[in-house]
Symmetry: C2
Subunit: 212 residues, 2 copies
DNA sequence: CCATGACGATGACATTTGTCACGACTGTCG
DNA sequence: CGACAGTCGTGACAAATGTCATCGTCATGG
């Protein structure tokens, strides 16, 4: 199987390459660190396209969603597997409505190879936490628009930052002049938005996201 | 004030430089990414030595403790401020018995500048969690030797790894074929060894440590 | 042999964390 | 104006987490 990797973090790119290659799952045709390059490289040689494209969402400039949009416009058969840090409801909704073949969380790297195989086999793959994030029943109301709130509000980011420093709720409340209950509620909201199960996951993902 | 920074992670080096410089606390004379270079650079120009040396402990080759030992051997007046990831009891004990002027945890970067000022003023600075790690009463018994158990056992590392992936105790227990109670105990032990307060701190520090 | 330490387990306990259901205030936008 | 979103607060409750004391096995090394 042939693949290509798009991620603005060179560390992620190379470790993904290693994993994919070492597992014998696929050969890596090329990598890119931004959406524009990705689109260009994908269009370049129609005869030698990746079977599955691993695509990060958060990138400077043209992001993964936009890149996917453009690629799918030309090649309806493109198999795109999003591999990103957050299980943001808005991102997931957009990715899937675009026609992506999968949405994985960077957290569990080991699942990349099997996911690629599944995608090759025509399946759609969602990371464990991704599915939980979406409420399965028909998303009535809310027509087609989805301005849910990509990412977090400023206050939420403040709190996420402190969580990622290992502070407990009491300390966070003290530092932000809030009640402990509010902090708990805020964090609960953040976890819900990002499809995470606990503060540790938030801390880990947050650090990963900041390190850009 | 003049300073120098020693850390094997270039990202840490540069961000520390930025912080120290931007805060107007000190100018950075040089940086090094290993103990040997640090000793060499320190000895090089006795007339233009850093007032405070920021020193990481975990580095390939000659580590921070060894470097400090050698530097202090020649210059008893050297002011060394350890800045490292773990509040490991053994590390702290060694650092302080060597005559270091401080021991900070990388976690809270903002405290670096004030700590340097305090050290310049002749004080010894310990990060908040560092002090808690040491039992204040006379450490009777155990003479001078300290082979506590630098770092963690293999099993403990297994668990730390899973914690840093955001798994909860139940999942960790399941994945390692342990009881949940054992997992709790193991984590409790790890936190104690490293002077940390909760799993989130462990996760954050662990990721930081692995990213080398 | 015996001490030691890593490993695993249990049960009890206190604390922290996460959820839920509320109410209230604010500023913005159609 | 009303709808709405973001913010902050409370109280109650369930679940997860961390700590302790205590026990047993096993391997290793003096």
């Amino acid at each position: 199987m042939k693949t290509a990797i798009v991620d603005d973090d060179p560390i992620v790119c190379s470790s993904l390459s290693t994993i994919v290659t070492a597992s014998g799952t696929a050969e890596v045709l090329w990598t890119a660190d931004n959406g524009d390059d990705a689109v260009r490289l994908y269009e370049q040689d129609p005869a030698n396209r990746p079977d599955v494209l691993l695509l990060d969402i958060q990138m400077p400039g043209t992001d993964g969603l936009e890149a996917a949009r453009r690629i799918l416009q030309r090649d309806k058969a493109a198999r795109i597997l999003f591999l990103t840090t957050f299980a943001d409801k808005s991102y997931i909704a957009q990715a899937l409505s675009l026609g992506a073949k999968g949405y994985l969380i960077k957290q569990d790297v080991k699942s990349v190879a099997p996911a690629m195989l599944a995608v090759m086999a025509g399946q759609v793959v969602l990371g464990s936490r991704v599915l939980d994030t979406l409420q399965l029943p028909g998303n009535e109301a809310q027509s087609g628009r989805q301005q849910l709130s990509v990412a977090l509000s400023e206050r939420e980011r403040d709190i996420a930052e402190l969580v990622s420093q290992g502070l407990d709720n009491r300390d966070i409340a003290h530092q932000l002049f809030l009640s402990e209950g509010t902090v708990r509620n805020r964090i609960s909201g953040i976890l819900d938005k990002l499809g995470m199960a606990n503060r540790t996951q938030l801390a880990v993902a947050w650090i990963d996201a900041q390190r850009r």
